[in-house]
């Protein structure tokens, strides 16, 4: 088929199964937008390229497919840097397509030239710059394969403008079948032996279990063994919160029983997780009595932070299926469960109502979870509201919580919700956002309104950069340097802003109105909704392991250290 580089690009994207691109045109990428005009691929015209990148991430995580974003050269491309870094940290499969200045002027500081390949080297899994239009179909197929196989991640494809404009013949790309690592039977047997002889084992489940689509295998293996399960921030939803074997989230703001399970364990069965510092606390004091089985598809993660006694390179789904096949009997974990059950009964998640009579943010999220239910998709930004969304929404299925874990990107929620809604139009999508985060990326609500993407946004408006304020309360003697945003003084007025962006704007500041407001928001289907939940500024996220301390110092609330006191 005779075409141009641009025509080949769009045809190749169609052939690899791309159904939506989030992007914005500009000079260098302009040739690609002409054939795109006639394509069956939907293009969502964002208001800022960062929104395109996070939308591609939200789409990828809601659907399990590769998300695609597109931008022009120079500033268009550099605006994708944060989403690429975010996708790299959280292993999200996205392909970013960027325009580049013409080959003849690359390296001359041409208008809108930026060396985006070099800029993104440490935050992409791989990148391409195409110099021959005939290579475009192969490169697109390779980019999709690289993004979605092994440990998923972001791939950049940089396309000089003249390559897009040059005539070529389209050859359909050969779609390679992805290969999966072959498991070592010896390591599986060693792992099964450790599991069989342990008295205090725990499944330490990470985001890799969601990426590999292994939730069913986890359910089966957990029920077969009766071993307690903890799910990290990136794994919320990998195992149902309603399941009696589930102790919740471990880590800095994890539940007391989940933190205790890791600290007191004699065996960690770590699956698709990377012993992140937000989970381990002070590394030398992490899980001091535990042997470690660590399975991950990325060999570089095994023994990176904590030495594994048994390391298994493999896809979590294969690993759990193999373990299920060799583990035949349940070990007696009565003592272990008695201990953990006691902690679960004594230290459930809980919160106080603010002394000033304002709304408790945790209550808002709890009610949202109850009314929107587990079939909805929830996204979050970064900070207090994110931790409450991880704690107080009850997740029952993988892919229902989409947030920025590793990079901690404020402003993630709204564009990620947009992408998730585009990929899952039949689900309700709630962005749980902070008043600080929301002001970083809310321009994408105009995109949502214009494109018919009816997301719902719950702003947990505490008037401050809440997590930073919490640390200032705890560690800086209440010196609130530069954390007050003025959002309680309506700078801006979120209801008016929502209206101006083409959304329905609602406000709620009392407990009696919370349910009614959520139901009112859920009754809107023809445009996005923004609810300004005005909450108290002094609410804090608990439990907490203070940064730089060991997990044994986990505080259920300020000054209450259940594990530390246990040892006295």
């Amino acid at each position: 088929m005779d075409t141009t580089g641009a025509g080949a690009l769009i045809k190749a994207l169609e052939d690899v199964g791309c159904e939506v691109i989030f992007g914005m045109p500009g000079g260098a990428i302009l040739p690609a937008y002409d054939p795109l005009f006639d394509s069956k691929i939907r293009h969502v015209l964002v208001r800022h390229e960062q929104g395109a990148g996070h939308a591609a991430q939200g789409y990828a995580q809601a659907t399990g497919r590769v998300g695609v974003c597109m931008a022009t050269s120079g500033p268009g491309a550099t605006n994708l840097v944060t989403p690429l870094a975010d996708a790299y940290m959280d292993s999200v499969p996205i392909v970013a397509i960027t325009g580049q200045v013409a080959r003849s002027v690359i390296g001359t500081d041409a208008f809108q030239e930026a060396d985006i390949r070099s800029i993104t080297l440490p935050i992409t899994k791989h990148s391409f710059q195409v110099h021959d239009p005939a290579d475009i179909p192969r490169v697109i197929a390779e980019a999709f394969l690289l993004a979605s196989t092994g440990r998923p991640g972001p791939v950049l494809v940089d396309l000089p403008k003249d390559v897009l404009a040059t005539a070529t013949t389209y050859t359909p790309p050969k779609l390679a079948t992805p290969s999966r690592p072959v498991l070592s039977p010896v390591q599986i047997r060693n792992a099964a032996q450790l599991i069989g002889s342990s008295k205090r084992p725990v499944f330490y489940i990470g985001g890799g279990v969601i990426r590999s689509g292994a939730a069913q295998e986890l359910h089966k293996l957990a029920e077969k063994t009766g071993i307690p399960v903890v799910t990290t921030l990136m794994a919320r939803g990998a195992f149902p919160d309603s399941h009696p074997l589930h102790l919740g989230m471990p880590g800095m703001h994890g539940t007391v029983p989940a933190v205790a399970a890791l600290q007191r364990a004699d065996l960690l069965i770590a699956l698709g997780t990377r012993f992140d510092d937000r989970v381990t606390g002070l590394l030398p004091e992490f899980a001091p009595h535990a042997a470690v089985i660590h399975a991950d598809i990325d060999p570089a993660e095994i023994s990176k932070n904590r030495k594994a006694d048994v390391g298994i390179v493999g896809d979590c789904r294969d690993v759990m299926a193999a373990l299920s096949a060799v583990i035949t009997r349940k070990t007696d974990l009565t003592d272990w469960w008695n201990y953990l059950g006691g902690l679960r009964a004594t230290y459930p998640l809980g919160y106080d109502w603010p002394a000033d009579g304002m709304l408790a943010p945790q209550y808002v999220i709890e009610r949202l979870s109850r009314l929107a239910g587990p079939e909805a998709i929830y996204t979050a930004g970064v900070g207090q509201h994110q931790m409450w969304a991880a704690q107080y929404v009850k997740y029952e299925r993988p892919g229902s919580f989409i947030n920025s874990g590793g990079a901690g990107t404020m402003g993630f929620a709204v564009p990620a919700a947009m992408g998730a809604q585009a990929g899952a139009p039949d689900r309700t999508v709630w962005a749980i956002d902070g008043d600080g985060c929301f002001q970083m990326t809310n321009q994408e609500l105009a995109t949502c309104a214009a494109e018919g993407i009816p997301i719902k946004v719950a702003i947990i408006n505490n008037g401050n950069l809440g997590m930073v304020r919490q640390w200032q309360t705890l560690f800086y003697e209440g010196r609130y340097s530069n954390t007050r945003l003025g959002t309680h003084q309506r700078h801006p007025d979120f209801v008016k802003l929502a209206d101006a962006l083409g959304c329905v704007g609602l406000r709620c500041d009392s407990q009696s109105e919370v349910d009614g407001t959520i139901l009112e928001a859920m009754a809107v289907h023809d445009r996005p909704v923004v609810v300004d939940f005005v909450v108290g500024q002094d609410a804090q996220v608990w439990p907490m392991v203070a940064a730089g301390t060991g997990n044994d110092e986990v505080m259920a609330a300020r000054g209450i250290r259940p594990l530390f006191d246990e040892e006295e």
């Binding site: 070099s118 080297l121 899994k125 791989h126 710059q129 990325d298 570089a300 023994s303």
Partner: protein, 88 residues
């Protein structure tokens, strides 16, 4: 700091060397010497590098991180071989 000698085979693709060098700098690896030369196979280059690692970082970890770079064909730890060549 521990000193190691590595030998890599890289695909002759634009940006391959840059990706390796950036990996060293972002992972805090100190490069003592580095040389790149065409390998026997025309589409590959051989990169010999001597690095120093921070305390607590292992060469096995670095080799695995190099191994996941798409354009890296192989990584060999030659620390021991070099010691023999030098008669040490």
């Amino acid at each position: 700091m521990t000193r190691h000698s590595l030998s890599l085979l890289l695909r002759n693709e634009p940006g391959a060397l840059a990706r390796i060098v950036v990996l060293f700098s972002s992972r805090g690896v100190d490069v003592e010497s580095l040389s790149l030369a065409p390998a026997e196979r025309g589409d590959l280059s051989r990169l010999d590098v001597v690095v120093e690692l921070q305390p607590g970082r292992t060469i096995v970890q670095l080799i695995k991180q190099l191994g996941r770079v798409v354009d890296v064909k192989s990584v060999v730890d030659r620390t021991h071989d070099e010691a023999i060549e030098l008669g040490a």
